[in-house]
Symmetry: C2
């Protein structure tokens, strides 16, 4: 794996240097602070490079798009702003959320249906989502999983019921909030997290190594260290190409006869964009994503007249478990009130804290439910032999935490959680000092965040403008678009799943676009 | 007042019919479903009308912009899509949030400072707001109030301490959340709601009648029943004008030599935009705004490459008071937990419900705190002689409401509210049946909503693109832009205040723009 990974980088690096060194007519007109947001075709005297399809970004969305476009028989050039290909997908868990009876689910005797998956996503996710994308995704999920297998992504016919991304080589698990209330009542649960069957946290790297190996064989030209700067627009509004810049500062004008696919990731590392669009994510302690997540694709798209949707949304996660024993503690807000089932998936808990509890929350444990090993993720705030002292030490409003614990214990002792229906696996009274408070607040805890807002696309990756029409020649996929992952983020694998599924559709779609005159 | 209002309408109506009837070369190229989002200047053979400044929208933002541009000596044409001028401002309470020592505050012996006002807005409002706008607004507030007086807006040197928009002729009141916790601890409170001194709910109409009377004298040409359809862009990116359409379906091409000001309101009546951008507002029972709030200005701006910021935000208000006696009840979420001080301003309470409590909340009253008069705003859910029966009837989780009331009563009986610091005016134990539950949920209660997201502008109303640069010739103001009103909406008057203050700045700014070649 290492060998392949390094290989891909070295190849990418060499290609771009050769490509730019050999190119005539290096541009000087663009890329400065005063560059126009959108370049008119009439400003381009000559193109430096011509291809059918230009894909910007080498994460799972860009690579999936490039592979499918190339297999449809057209010429494809893929650029990546960083020296190494792989994008944020290579940093991720590599989980693909898939269901409705995938080959892996069937091999492991798991029953699932596209409807159950659809119901889960629609009921547990964001208000008023883009239903057509969800429906296609659920219906196409088994075939999409087959495609991933065909690309050489290795899966093991093993499943785990443990919560959280498997450290072993199991390839199927409950990656989301399916078993937590209220989702468990809204849709029939099934394990749908499909993760490469490799031990350790190497899923994303493994997934991308497989896809990049296919890319290397495919005939797609790749150039790393090359960043998109401006889209070029014809006088009739069609996107004609892109001005790019390499690491040495040189510009090139790339013509894309069929179209451009923006797959440049989100904007979690662009602090100014976060402040403007997604202030709750701005405050999270750990911007989580590849260094290229600067919003370039989104901003180029906006400059071309695209709509950008739900730009405030993202994942904001509180990875409180593992260990699972802490789920027998209770999570409270600054007022000492519970607000969620503690067994909720990281993304659902994190969303509740970051977006709905003003960024502040605390885990209260007794001796059994405490973190046993040293950990720096969730700082210890206070420790005491009684809940009353603990509450005073931590500064909760007078009597509030005591009240919450008394109510919780009263029902937990008879196996019930009237408020949030925590399951019997984790439900028992808090009893047995020392009691402790751990900080789950967005700016104190380990609180990774990533952006989900992006360009409006249809199910075929066409970028939609504010008049509801596709911008000719412009496509996008992955976190550059507003896709399946929304806030709350209800399951690991929805993002990479969306990237690969709709990346492929964008690739097939742009390959069918007529060649511009 | 009626006379003037009707007069403005009739004049507006006549003007547009004459104007379009007399125009040569009615367009046919634009406005159909297939019209491009942005029209290239090269597509325009000839202009039907030429002016210096075109203002789209006749609410307080558009009229303030038009007045200031005209007074700077340039030619101004103002169009309004509806038959009657006035926009959503004329439907509003007509409150302008002003402080820092306005003439009215000083006349009434109210102490205030720009800093206290700034601290309130920054601490109580949205996360990471546009600070430069807030600072200018606070510093310029006394002078801006003088300007409103100079336009003939009638204010009375009377103040009220009652909560809510005055029904009498008082012109100064606490229009926001200044006295509720936690705002009261964060900034020195002052009454800053400046409302025309007329009885009844006629503030907005009165304000707009004054401004429209000045408009009629000013030499600004106005045309009602004319809607903006597309911006026209020069090849160098400068906005050259707009294609408009009248009620009879006819098109005209209007050249704006200095620039276009988009002041077309928000998008609360555009259901599709709400679904895409602002799903929480989509669910609120009462879209609150003038029928022209369809997002036309925002969409034309996006088509020209503008950024649109915080498009999910808006006001979502739960106008629970008056009567003030209900503030001695408690507000709880679906889990029977309190989550806010009941005396919070409508916009703050509504934001908490719509955005942070999944749209659901309930008011719990005892006999003294019940609604005494018949009202349909907040449906009665249940009524009982005991809290326990009430909770069961209303379907709260077992024991939860009882627990909340016991805790609340315990401290209220000694004059304290440890959770939300409700003030002594309203704090007392719930005691004395019948107890009642009233529905405050967004889809059951009277729950007006309005949008706050819009185009990114600088303090001079220049529209900013995704590369951080002003789009030449394009200006915007009012709810077409992301301005001072944010979520939570912390005070009545921030929206009309922002419309008039930054509308004026946009008008002065566009008048200074060089004439295009």
């Amino acid at each position: 794996m290492d060998k392949q990974g390094k290989g891909a980088t070295a190849i990418g690096r060499r290609r771009v240097l050769q490509g730019l060194a050999g190119a005539a007519g290096l541009g000087v007109a663009a890329g400065s602070a005063a560059a126009p947001a959108l370049l008119s075709r009439s400003e381009i005297k000559s193109w430096d490079v011509t291809t059918d399809v230009l894909v910007a970004g080498s994460g799972s969305a860009g690579v999936s798009a490039a592979l499918e476009a190339r297999r449809a028989g057209v010429e494809v050039l893929l650029i990546e702003s960083l020296p190494k290909l792989g994008g944020s997908s290579a940093m991720s868990g590599g989980v693909v959320y898939a269901g409705g009876g995938t080959a892996l689910q069937r091999a492991l005797g798991v029953e699932d249906s596209a409807e159950a998956m659809y119901n889960f996503i629609v009921s547990a996710g964001t208000l008023h989502p883009q239903l057509d994308k969800i429906q296609l995704y659920c219906e196409g999920s088994p075939a999409h999983f087959d495609w991933l297998v065909a690309q050489g992504v290795p899966y093991q016919e093993k499943m785990t019921k443990a919560k959280g991304l498997p450290f072993g080589d199991e390839s199927l698990y409950y990656s989301g909030n399916e078993l937590a209330w209220p989702a468990v009542d809204a849709a029939r649960p099934a394990p749908r997290g499909h993760v490469p069957g490799v031990s350790g946290m190497n899923g994303g790297r493994t997934l991308m190594e497989a896809l990049l190996a296919r890319l290397a064989e495919s005939g797609v030209a790749t150039r790393a260290g090359v960043s998109g700067r401006q889209l070029v627009v014809e006088s009739d509004g069609r996107i004609a190409g892109m001005v790019v810049q390499d690491d040495a500062g040189r510009f090139q004008r790339i013509r894309a006869r069929r179209g451009v696919v923006l797959a440049c990731g989100g904007f979690i590392h662009n602090r100014e964009m976060l402040r403007r669009y997604a202030p709750q994510l701005y405050d999270c302690s750990v911007p989580w994503g590849n260094a290229g997540d600067l919003g370039a694709g989104i901003n180029m798209g906006i400059a071309a007249g695209a709509e950008a949707l739900r730009m405030h949304q993202g994942f904001a996660i509180a990875p409180m478990y593992p260990p699972e024993n802490v789920l027998s503690g209770i999570v409270v807000n600054q007022f000492g009130q519970r607000f969620i089932s503690e067994e909720s998936y990281h993304g659902v808990l994190g969303d509740a804290i970051a977006f709905h509890q003003q960024g502040r929350a605390y885990l209260i444990t007794d001796d059994d439910s405490a973190y046993k090993m040293h950990q720096d993720n969730f700082p210890l705030v206070a420790e005491s032999a009684t809940i009353g002292d603990l509450a005073a030490l931590a500064g909760f409003p007078q009597g509030a935490l005591q009240h919450t614990v008394a109510y919780y214990n009263r029902f937990a002792s008879v196996g019930r959680d009237p408020l949030f229906h925590k399951s019997h696996h984790y439900l028992r009274p808090l009893q047995g000092p020392p009691y402790r408070v751990w900080d789950l607040s967005v700016n104190r805890a380990f609180f990774p965040a990533h952006t989900f807002g992006g360009l409006h696309t249809d199910v075929d990756g066409r970028v939609i403008n504010s008049f509801g029409e596709a911008i000719p020649g412009l496509y996008a996929a992955g976190r550059t678009v507003a896709g399946l992952p929304t806030a709350p983020y209800i399951a690991s694998g929805l993002s990479v799943g969306d990237c690969t599924f709709f990346g492929r559709r964008a690739g097939r779609s742009v390959a069918r676009q007529e060649v511009s005159a």
